[in-house]
Amino acid sequence: MARIFALRLLTTLVTLLGVAVIVFVVIRVVPGDPIAMMLPPGATEADIARLRTLYGLDKSIGGQFVIWFGNVLQGDFGSSITARQPVLTLVLGRLPATLELSLLALLMAVLIGGTLGVTGTRLRGTRAEAGIDVANGIGLSVPDFLWGLALIVLFGVVWPLFPISGRVSPRLELPFSTNFYLIESILRLRFDLTRNLLAHMLMPALALALPLAAIISQLLKQSLKETVNLDYAVLARTRGYSERHVILSEALPNAALPTLTLIGVQFTFLMGGTIIIERLFSYEGLGNMAIDAVITRDLPLIQGIVLLFALLFTLVNLVVDMAYVLLNPKLRHA
């Protein structure tokens, strides 16, 4: 097992190095003169000179990469050109909002998808299953962006149930000392704030959750339907266990395993989706900041956000792969 983990860690490091090279190439090499790219509207001669010395642009490409990568490893992503603050501070300040949104969406996806998958298996061969299949088909082919828009029209305009912009109502006093608003509001027992936060998060989270819920539901149902016909599930039935027990206790632990690996990759897709969904709902997270950074050409900030996302994605995949090994008795003893 230690061998599998070590191997996996090694490939993760290689991936992260590759990510760094590509970010470097796209941002620093392709545009020709990166300084010109980095110039915010209304930059002065002094800005240009400062940036040139900062990035050591007189050096060779390889030399530039080494300097740049060295800085990155020390957590120095430079300073934002528009906000004139260290990139790391800005990025870490926004990260909690995006994490809370993604995790809430993941939770919703697992609950919706899991329920539909198990129910579909329970009702296999009936009209209800066919209905779940149709819903899955639509959920699979329509992306989060469209779900978000549809939710805005439905529950923001036609039947205005929820606010359509922001993370929290702007007029509220916030007693928070961290940026994990949702978690802190629960810990501080300020459930009025929790409700307000959730009302803002519900639609963006649902938009992010629906495609993943459809994938989970479809894959879980498929693998459950195979598993409930395996001999061990049949044996459990002949021993007097109910169908419910067979699905939940015998089949689910085994059928969930392939679904779990899939959730890893899909969760990174979901996090990638936060970028446009945050924009759509004016939610103050990393993604919204990233789009602003691209529009204002704040290159150090873009770089920082891309690297942070890449780090998160590889970590998610690493964690899921390791969880898979831990949960699979065949690999646990390898």
Partner: protein, 283 residues
């Protein structure tokens, strides 16, 4: 069971026809936009601003789906917007498919170091959020249709590569591939004549999905104002305008949204329908 399959086939046939019907509508709109559109999609007339669609009170004759805040005709913009959507779907979808599938086939069939390099590359690519990657590329490359197409290819080739690689790998372990070797087939011939026909259904399904995805990516880029130039109407651009004035002109958002929904769904259905119809194993 036999009856069940028949019913399934009929329903699949209906879905295929409905999808093909919508595709035809989009294609006709794109081809004949100047003749079909009742107005100039760019003509502004603030006197005619914020007209609602035809079934609501306060409309002006000839503006069926209303106008936006600047008084531009929504229907005409919708029809003209089909052009960018269709070009992106066809060009970006096909190019992404060709590049991704080729790499996937090679990696899955030849294994060894090619597979390792391509696999590592896919891993690295998967570490980037695709939307951010696309936006960044456009920022670097500059806006314009060709940049949009390049961005879609660059971010989405991995989708084909991963799935096609897995399928090619799966197929290359079947005995019919060993049998081709015993028959004296060369490796490339085995790949093209034996494996490709078995991977093709997957590729076709992915291709139609990708066409829908390409349309969405373009809409997202338009939405953040990083697609083609603003004097060309796009569905995504309309959605962005509608989102800003959502409480006044929701129809500017709703109609292109509906068009995108139908387009994405019909591409997905088209893929399934084509497979049910033309795959000998399912036929």
């Amino acid at each position: 069971m036999l009856d069940g399959r028949g019913a399934l086939r009929r329903r699949a046939g209906l879905r295929l026809w409905l999808s093909a019907g919508w595709q035809a509508v989009v294609m006709l709109a794109a081809l004949f936009a100047p003749w079909l559109a009742p107005h100039d999609p760019l003509a502004q007339d603030l006197m005619l601003g914020r007209l609602p669609p035809f079934w609501l009170p306060g409309t002006e004759p000839g503006y069926w789906l209303g106008t936006d805040s600047l008084g531009r005709d929504v229907l005409s913009r919708l029809i003209h917007g089909a052009r960018v959507a269709l070009i992106v779907a066809l060009v970006a979808g096909t190019a992404t498919c060709l590049i991704g599938s080729t790499l996937g086939l090679i990696a899955g069939f030849y294994r060894g170091w090619t597979d390792r390099i391509i696999g590592r590359l896919v891993d690295i690519w998967m570490a980037f959020p695709p939307v951010l990657f696309a936006i960044l590329l456009i920022a670097v490359l500059g806006t314009g249709l060709s940049s949009v197409v390049i961005a879609i290819i660059v971010i989405d080739w991995t989708r084909f590569c991963r799935v096609v690689r897995a399928e090619a790998l799966n197929q290359s372990q079947m005995d019919y591939v060993h049998s081709a070797r015993v028959a004296g087939f060369s490796r490339p011939r085995t790949l093209m004549a034996e494996i490709l026909p078995n991977v093709l259904p997957v590729i076709v399904a992915l291709l139609t999905l990708e066409m829908g995805i390409a349309v969405i990516v373009e809409a997202i880029l338009s939405f953040v104002n990083l697609s083609v130039s603003t004097d060309r109407p796009t569905w995504g651009g309309m959605i962005a305008e509608g989102r800003i004035a959502i409480h006044h002109v929701w129809w500017v958002l709703a109609f292109p949204l509906a068009a995108l929904f139908l387009t994405v769904l019909s591409f997905a259905q088209l893929g399934e329908g084509l497979r049910d119809r033309f795959d000998p194993v399912l036929r």
